[in-house]
């Protein structure tokens, strides 16, 4: 147990900070879910990141990464959020599919997909849910039929984040006639392939953040299957582990938000409800607890452990802390909470937009009800 950074880690932080200070765009980009222009501006930023070799720092160098360890990744993320750098438009690729590809992919697959993921050249969407397979993901009905060296994909995917503007998607498809957790494969397909139709779905904030995808006889090479045929569920759960357990939501994101909340409180405490200070303190505590938990997880993984069902506790914790934090800001803002532009003293933070976004947290990446079932059944051993 040693909770201090090594000189090398401190030097790395300084290196990241200097590069970001020189490269992070002034002013905020239009949101990547709002328009094609916003999306492409974020792709450009990904290319800039890659030019500094910061695309995905934990991946091996041969696949477009920097070969760094998880503590360095956390330091990178801390500096990234501290600098107010743009959101990662390729998060479905670099944080979810990427680590899974590294674990389950062949060398050829890694060579083909990872470098272009790290550079933003190919931006990824996920295509897991279906109209009748949401929380019950094993109810997926989309099919993959083998034809020579190809698969023919058919089905209807929905709630696919980034799919409106992205280049590629990964999803679960089953062998016709197979049931539940058996017979599913994880397969990649280009979103511009013949037979793919993408319809945007507006979110409650008006952005086209997700989409439904129709696949009609979409032909992809069997090379696009990750892992063995029929192993899709197992791989999908590993992806979900990365998503919930470590990478999807950086603690730094909430530490920056807690700092801005404290600044908002300091600016407004003369007129705000004095009992709200306890919530400001709580928001800081939650962000710190999440950061400490992630540092502990990173240390454990570096010592050889694997992510397990405890990943589900993370997803519940960060999604609930986000709502509490942003709601506290609204309580401090009072009658200005509903304004759709940053209120005075709000440090340019659009708290209402952050609050609305936070409300999605308990739903996506597996609803919190499902996470609680996973904790109860796999951590605590309660019967199904």
């Amino acid at each position: 147990m040693d909770l201090t950074y090594t000189p090398e880690q401190l030097a790395f932080r300084a290196e990241v900070r200097a590069w970001l200070e020189a490269h992070v765009p002034q002013g905020s980009l239009e949101h990547f879910d709002a328009t094609r222009e916003g999306f492409e501006a974020h792709r450009e930023w990904e290319k800039t990141l890659k030019s500094g070799d910061w695309g995905m720092v934990t991946w091996p160098r041969e696949y477009g990464g920097r070969g760094l360890d998880l503590i360095q990744w956390l330091i990178f993320e801390e500096e990234y959020y501290r600098a107010g750098a743009p959101g990662r438009v390729n998060q479905n690729g670099i944080f979810l599919l990427g680590p899974t590809l590294i674990e389950f992919g062949t060398h050829e697959q890694k060579q083909r997909f990872l470098p272009k993921m790290a550079s933003g050249e190919e931006i990824w969407a996920q295509a897991w849910s279906e109209p009748m397979a949401g929380s019950d993901l094993a109810g997926v009905r989309a099919t993959a039929v083998r034809e020579g060296d190809d698969y023919i994909l058919n089905g209807h995917k929905i709630w696919s984040s980034r799919a409106v503007f992205a280049d590629w998607a990964f999803g679960l498809f089953r062998e016709p006639g197979s049931e539940r957790h058996k017979g599913m494969s994880l397969i990649f397909f280009p979103l511009n392939a013949p037979g793919v139709t993408v319809n945007a779905i507006k979110k409650i904030n008006g952005h086209v953040g997700f989409a439904e995808i129709f696949l009609e006889n979409v032909r992809v090479p069997a090379f696009n299957r990750l892992g063995e045929e029929g192993q899709g569920w197992h791989i999908c759960m590993a992806t979900a582990g990365f998503e919930r357990g470590l990478m999807l939501r950086s603690p730094a994101r909430y530490q920056v938000a807690a700092k801005k909340l404290a600044e908002l409180w300091t600016a407004r405490k003369e007129t705000a409800d004095p009992t709200l200070e306890a919530d400001v303190v709580r928001a800081h505590m939650n962000a710190e607890a999440y950061a400490l938990n992630i540092y502990q997880t990173a240390s454990r993984l570096m010592a050889g452990a694997k992510i397990g069902p405890e990943a589900s506790t993370n997803k519940i914790f960060w999604s609930e802390l986000d709502i509490h934090l942003t709601q506290t800001a609204l309580n401090i803002l009072g009658p200005q909470a509903e304004l759709t532009h940053a209120a005075p003293d709000a440090n340019s933070v659009d708290w209402i937009d952050d609050y609305i976004f936070a409300l999605a947290g308990p739903i996506y990446a597996g609803s919190n009800e499902i996470q609680r079932n996973i904790i109860a059944e796999r951590m605590l051993g309660l019967p199904r």
Partner: protein
């Protein structure tokens, strides 16, 4: 940066766990409650023989000279069996203080001697009647007296294993030890009670899980119902996000700065909240059985209630975190930062 425990630390915790599992069972608790006792001399002897009381004592005082991280692991295991004996306050707080003030004191050479401590944070002294001696506080100075040199007035606690007393005493009947580090005592007590609370919390969840697997209603174990599962899952989430805070607080307590104190306070708050949440979930999952004297979960609830308000109330601990927030830099690069500006007086 390494947030893992060493093999030795894990082994020591394992030793404590098996000792407590054998010597502090529900049968033991029941016998003690029936006999109206708060100390089991045989168990205390085995704790002493295993060296658990020597962990924080420096080697020159006959101790093992380990750190707060090591003792916190033992305190957590003690919490898992809602240990009646005053291991935390005696071996984690009072004895190390005495070892600083009077390294050659004969009490430190008596392994069975439990030491109680009166602290300005607490109105009462726990286990003062059975202690070999009590460290007393007056105007920043420490004094030492035996229970028969002071007047003890029992203040019965809802917790059957906590014996609280008001203490009246005069310096003329006590040995002056000089100026003491009451802040360190407070931080250690808060930290080790937080660790103890992690054990309380996990045991509450585990008791409820065992019951929910057995108890059948509507033809199925109640643990198969989501309403029951989600109570216990939520309690487990609270535990999982208190654990690393307690671990960090233990690792950083020696820094003695604003950040370290805020971390200890954070640990105390969230670990006791987890203990309370878990105990209440356990009572709810046990249904009417959980409300009965016969089922053990109330012991965990009562200790959680007691420790939540002892060694700093939630409001006092929140205030220390507020001090950290509003006087020190915040942000993602500040998680492990130290207060470089002002060195706190020891």
């Amino acid at each position: 940066m390494d947030f893992t425990l060493s093999e030795e630390q894990l082994m020591f915790a394992e030793t404590a766990r098996s000792l407590f599992a054998d010597s502090s069972t529900p049968d033991h608790w029941r016998r003690m409650m029936e006999a109206d006792e708060a100390i089991d001399p045989a168990r205390w002897s085995s704790i002493v023989e295993t060296g658990l009381t020597l962990v924080l004592l420096p080697e020159k005082a006959g101790g093992i000279g380990l750190a707060e991280t090591d003792f916190a692991l033992i305190a957590q295991e003690a919490g898992y069996v809602v240990l009646p004996e005053p291991l935390v306050e005696s071996a984690g707080v009072a004895a190390p203080m005495l070892a600083v003030l009077a390294p050659d004191h004969e009490l430190l050479g008596d392994p069975l001697a439990a030491i109680a401590i009166q602290h300005p944070a607490n109105p009462y002294v726990a286990n003062a009647d059975t202690a070999a001696a009590i460290i007393l506080h007056r105007d920043g100075e420490a004094f030492l007296a035996t229970p028969d040199q002071v007047t003890l007035t029992a203040q019965p606690s809802i917790d059957p294993f906590r014996r609280l007393f008001s203490v009246e005493w005069s310096p003329g009947n006590a040995t002056a030890l000089g100026k003491a580090d009451w802040d360190l005592a407070f931080d250690r007590a808060a930290l080790f009670n937080a660790a103890f609370a992690l054990g309380l919390a996990q045991r509450s969840v585990d008791l409820a899980v065992d019951y929910a697997k057995e108890r059948q209603q509507f033809g199925k174990p109640i643990g198969s119902y989501q309403a029951v599962k989600h109570h216990l899952a939520s309690a487990q989430v609270a535990i999982e996000f208190a654990k690393p805070v307690v671990a960090a607080a233990a690792a950083e307590i020696g820094a003695r700065d604003i950040q370290a104190r805020a971390r200890v306070s954070h640990a105390k708050l969230v670990a006791l909240e987890a203990a309370d949440k878990a105990a209440r979930a356990a009572i709810q999952v046990h249904g009417a059985m959980g409300y009965s004297w016969e089922v053990d979960v109330h012991l965990f609830l009562k200790r959680a209630v007691a420790l939540t308000q002892t060694w700093g109330t939630p409001a006092q601990h929140r205030a220390r975190i507020a001090t950290r927030i509003f006087t020190q830099p915040m942000g993602p690069d500040q998680t492990f930062a130290r207060d470089a500006g002002q060195k706190q007086e020891a």
